[in-house]
């Protein structure tokens, strides 16, 4: 009877030991994860700064030093701006397509839809009016 009890106790202490072991392992994993996350976060801001610098210098350089027809200027400036906005959202605000951050991505995309409708509609209607009635207002 007594032997049986001590056996049970042994198993218990053994269980506790393994528990402690797994906890320690878990902590080790957490530290590793944290270090990896930290490296990833720092790299994110570094990439953001580098890409933004390139995407700022291109349009300024083109506008200041490269003689091109203005339509080509506008296309380059517009494209750099759109890409830089995406870079800022991705690397500075950490919005991505990963499953964890879906709801805010939807919020942002919905806002973009609203802006497209409101701003696009405004431009469409007013420039149509200018074209038909006030040719002097069309830039």
């Amino acid at each position: 009877m007594r032997a049986h009890e001590s056996n049970a106790q042994d198993t218990q202490t053994l269980d506790q030991n393994t528990d402690q072991n797994t906890q320690a392992q878990q902590r080790g994993h957490d530290d590793e994860d944290l270090a990896r996350e930290r490296q990833r976060d720092f790299r994110s801001y570094g990439w953001g700064l580098f890409l933004s610098l390139v995407l700022t210098l291109i349009p300024f350089g083109v506008a200041a030093f490269v003689p091109l027809p203005s339509i080509a200027h506008w296309i380059i400036i517009g494209e750099c701006a759109v890409v830089q906005i995406i870079v800022h959202f991705r690397f500075f605000l950490h919005i991505s397509f990963s499953r964890n951050t879906r709801e805010d991505l939807q919020l942002i995309l919905f806002t973009v839809l609203i802006i497209t409708i409101l701003a696009g509609g405004t431009l469409w209607i007013l420039f149509d009016l200018y074209y038909r009635m006030m040719p002097g207002m069309a830039p």
């Binding site: 959202f89 500075f92 991505s96 951050t101 002097g136």
Partner: protein, 211 residues
């Protein structure tokens, strides 16, 4: 952000402070999402002011237009200041997240604040030059649209600087507690967001107007 670890560690959009900051981390879940909703409503205001600006481009009423008033050098300096401040705020957020010490956190925040104030000083100087050259808001529809768009962004930057000063005050009294942590998380979103609005301003208003 952490895709391979437990999903529970990502509780809201953007940089999560993570489990070591448990209280602030869980408080942020609601606060940050609410702040994003506000940020997006602000985005719509700016979107419509951009549309107004473009429709008013032809309405100079014989007064000075974009190519007479705007300067590329000033816009470039302001762009660089704001971009640098976005990066330094990112460094401040990471010093907070990874417990790199109060001195480092405050140092990065002070650099960010100075860059923000430098941006404002340059912008005010630009406005002053414009106004002295006859480009004041009531001169034409174009100038009214310009002065409702660009200074509104400047006002946002000034507000963000004031908010940072308020957080410095909170830090001095309460040290870095949960309130300070959640405040800094939201201010970071505002700061990065204002840099995004500035991208559209320098592309559309300055570079678009000067080519």
């Amino acid at each position: 952000m952490t895709t391979h670890t437990a999903g529970a560690s990502t509780r809201h959009p953007g940089l999560n402070l993570g489990e070591p900051h448990e209280e602030a981390h869980s408080a942020n879940e609601e606060l940050v999402f609410g702040f994003w909703v506000f940020m997006m409503s602000d985005f719509i205001i700016f979107g419509l002011l951009f549309a107004t600006y473009v429709t008013m481009l032809g309405g100079t009423a014989g007064g000075p237009g974009p190519s007479d008033l705007l300067e590329m050098k000033g816009a470039f300096i302001e762009t660089m200041l704001l971009l640098a401040s976005s990066f330094t705020f990112g460094m401040a957020s990471l010093s907070l997240k990874y417990h790199q010490g109060t001195a480092k956190l405050i140092g990065w925040l002070v650099v960010t604040l100075l860059l923000g104030l430098g941006f404002l000083a340059h912008e005010l100087k630009d406005f002053h030059t414009m106004i002295s050259e006859g480009g004041y808001p009531s001169r034409s529809g174009y100038l009214s649209a310009f002065f409702s768009l660009v200074p509104l962004h400047g006002l946002h930057v000034a507000g963000a600087c004031l908010w940072m000063l308020a957080i410095f005050g909170q830090m001095a009294v309460h040290r870095i507690d949960t309130q300070v942590k959640t405040g800094l998380t939201r201010l970071a979103i505002l700061w990065h967001f204002l840099d995004i609005v500035w991208i559209v301003i320098f592309s559309l208003v300055y570079l678009g107007g000067l080519t």
